[in-house]
Symmetry: C2
Subunit: 398 residues, 2 copies
């Protein structure tokens, strides 16, 4: 069993160790919730201040040109592209993951007018499935089929996540993409739990979406992104046809005329202040070797699994290749257990009804963090500290 000194040695040899200093990390806490909200990069506050005070404050409406605000959906999209294995001019940033899913789904259905089935994973993060239901309800005449049936032959589109938010289980993007295409279906990947912790490659897929506030560290509610395969750029329609997707937004034409390329999927005015924090976060990603990130991610999750051992029931796949960068366990009293862990300095989160999640962000989580977190888990469980009644009461949101 690796002891703390061994973990200190692993940290000393970690090629990514310098990145940890680029983040603001809380004192006395092991933060294992980067899969929900990434930590604050040190550079972000100044970048946001600059946008507010120097750009908006001094240039006012001139900032749209002078500070590149207009171009943000595309320039920032181009900075995200390498993180998901696609090229420039293929990603547009903005809005939210839910809205990007709606755009991708609506476009996919129009591209497959002869089919009336949407395959969606009922175990996917709920918003994905809810958006499918909302669109199907609006259009009528669509069947929403659960992924579990594994039948794509009459499907217009398949929507699923590369990494499951609850279990951390990882799909084989290449294989499932090929399977969907062989059946004549289009495919949309949700990358919320994979981008930033592994080498993602959705270049064969039709669409992909993701958020930037988890492993990408762009801040609470940071803009999402939408990838559209270039083979669809001339034919796919953006149902949220706002003026930023128009061929000439400032011609103020009466009729919508889609822009060339990915810009037709822009909707409207970008959230500039939130974009500033995203742009700052991407400064870090430019320097990150993703193969090292994935290697460290697997090592961190494996170490945690090894150290926790049988103290908790593992829900995530045991094979590190088959999971993302989180480890989930099942516990019938998961809620008080997680509250006790947080009270003892280990921040994970709880997902109803009985899942404990621990996310490992390779840029700022150390091997020693993993050691200390596992030790606390063993102590809280071994001494049944979670049975203290103060942990039983539900907080408003967990």
């Amino acid at each position: 069993m690796p002891d703390r000194d061994h973990c200190l040695a692993l940290d000393a040899a970690d090629p990514l160790r310098a990145f940890r200093d680029e983040f603001v990390l809380p004192e006395g806490v092991v933060y294992l919730v980067g899969n929900s909200l990434g930590a604050l990069p040190r550079r972000t506050a100044e970048r946001v201040r600059r946008t507010v005070e120097d750009e908006w404050g001094k240039k006012l409406v001139g900032g749209w040109n002078a500070s590149g605000w207009y171009a943000q959906p595309l320039t920032v999209g181009d900075r995200i592209a390498p993180l998901i294995g696609v090229g420039p001019g293929q990603v547009v940033a903005g809005n939210t993951t839910s809205i990007a899913i709606f755009q991708a789904l609506a476009a996919a259905l129009k591209l497959r007018p002869d089919r009336r089935v949407i395959v969606s994973d009922a175990d996917n993060f709920p918003t994905d499935h809810y958006i499918v239901q909302g669109l199907a309800g609006l259009l009528g005449e669509y069947e929403v089929r659960d992924l579990a049936e594994r039948r794509f032959d009459d499907a217009a589109v398949v929507l699923l996540s590369e990494v499951d938010y609850r279990t951390g289980a990882r799909q084989d993007v290449a294989a499932v993409t090929a399977e969907a295409h062989a059946a004549g279906a289009l495919i949309i990947w949700d990358l919320c739990h994979s981008a930033g912790v592994m080498e993602v490659d959705v270049s064969a897929a039709d669409f992909a979406v993701g958020c930037t506030y988890k492993y990408l560290n762009a801040g609470p509610g940071a803009p999402a992104y939408l990838y559209v395969n270039p083979r669809h750029h001339e034919t796919a329609e953006n149902v949220l046809s706002g003026w930023f997707g128009h061929a000439e937004p400032f011609a103020f034409e009466t009729d919508f005329r889609p822009a060339e390329g990915i810009r037709r999927f822009a909707v409207s005015t970008p959230h500039v202040v939130s974009f500033a924090a995203l742009d700052a976060a991407l400064d870090i990603w430019e320097r990150v070797p993703m193969a090292q990130v994935r290697a460290k991610s697997k090592a961190l999750t494996s170490l945690f699994v090894e150290l926790v051992g049988d103290a908790l029931e593992l829900v995530s796949p045991a094979d590190p290749e088959a999971r993302g960068s989180q480890v989930s366990y099942r516990h019938p009293d998961g809620y008080p257990v997680m509250r006790a862990l947080i009270d003892h300095g280990v921040h994970g989160d709880f997902r109803a009804p009985d899942i404990l999640r621990f996310g490992f962000a390779p840029l700022y989580t150390s091997y020693t963090d993993v050691h200390d977190a596992a030790a606390t888990v063993l102590e809280v469980l071994g001494k049944e500290l979670w049975r203290d009644e103060k942990y039983a009461r539900r907080l408003a949101v967990t």
Copy 2:
């Protein structure tokens, strides 16, 4: 003709004059583009810093509860409500105006399933009309009828702006709402150019939308808002049925079950950093007597019209009651004229093909500003300074 001393006296007697000190205004410039992007409130930078460094940086994922991020769409919506004449629990903030229009339109069409006509103003700000076209294209079987036909009798919904972005002409909200309802149609008001400069009252309407980055001063790309009349809260559907609109977002149920009340129109994770700037801007609006704002707005626009006189062809209504807080003129060489004005310290904007716009934000525009701006307009036109070839070349975006 009022001279500069008279304008100084008007400023001294202005009951709103103290508000000017709450904004960062550029040196040596008269900024008349508050109808496009409002000026930076002095309090905003610290409010945004707090959200980034103290909330996100220190509380991390705990900020969702501890800093009220989850509730932002509703708490901030409640702060916007008084500005548009409606009550608490009726406005949700977030996303963009275009997206809010899409939500309102889709909901309205579902509420009027027996009708197949959308009335939209072809002269409205293009994104409004484009969103109508996008939704109609997705659904098929809908006719988009121009407002100019003035025929509502078979319309499902009517969408128009209280104040026209180009001319500043103001619609009579009460009368047109009654006209639409008498014809059995629902009505959606776009308040982008009216909220913050007049006493808006859409309480009889079915839906209303607006942005917050113009007269409300919430910053570039700040979150938009959506009002839904309480009579529709139980029946209207949110087609963008993301998890924030679910009755129990953290129950992670498989099927979408809409929340009670306005929250069903929330979509997904709010753009928290952009919300911080919006929240700061609303601190000011709590103290603003809107009747005084409207009185000053009419006085400012009237003064500008009087001082500019026949030097430019007025496009806006001559009656101040019939316009918003902007004055628009037509000039065949509008582009170089506006560039010359900006070069001489008067910032308005140009809208193709030939419109010069000047917006007056009563919280920070003074009577002396109006005097000085008009004097510059007369000089630039009188001496034909705009004919200098350096003003002829088009910039990338105008």
